[in-house]
Symmetry: C2
Subunit: 142 residues, 2 copies
Amino acid sequence: MISHNERAPLGASLPWTQVLDSLKLSAEGLIPAIAQQHDSGEVLMMAWMNREALEETLRTGRVCYWSRSRGTLWRKGESSGQVQQLKEARLDCDGDTLLLLVDQSGPACHTGRKSCFYNAIRGDRVEVVSETLVHPVKLYGR
Amino acid sequence: MISHNERAPLGASLPWTQVLDSLKLSAEGLIPAIAQQHDSGEVLMMAWMNREALEETLRTGRVCYWSRSRGTLWRKGESSGQVQQLKEARLDCDGDTLLLLVDQSGPACHTGRKSCFYNAIRGDRVEVVSETLVHPVKLYGR
């Protein structure tokens, strides 16, 4: 369905409910979602959504993922208070990945760093390239 | 292994070969890789790498993915000429996603748009929000 937009001009559109019904989910019913800070462009994290998480996110404007490790909906910030407000959700050309433009309150990463992508592969080392903004103890009490 | 960087200060590092051996790959031996234009911050696409694709990318500086549909290494731009030069590869906190900072030659998307994320979910419609830079016929001859 989303392929109908491939050669469509700027501003053309399709009905969301039909696109949603034809999304290419994984065997587990999941789709990867990349969160990007809407104004700075910083890529914050990548997590997964099922259909319920995506629908809740679009309905409430607060980002909700599916936690694969816990097997539950994961309202980002429910433990840490570091919520993500959705500015816009986008789908890629083949409808199997989401890009979420968000406004991240404080750090996105459980380590207290703004972004989860703080490990740079440089030569034969993997180097920490961003600082902790908030100590994890302050986020999670441990 | 990558978790050793969680509470490490800026500039701390780990040996890449040990991190590589402990990466959390999917059951198919793959890891998702997000490509971001290094200077503008635009998120271009998301694709998958196996260990061989990642090692080739780091060795050559030209981004190589694993094509799940074709079951082969996919040297980005081999058909279209729209290559990605790697500026830096980063790993997330739990070592299961890559962020590639790249210099994308022309459009990243097979539709001829700069980014694959050109479908914005707005209300009950999915709207095309970016223009085609190059007609796909010019990229692929069809």
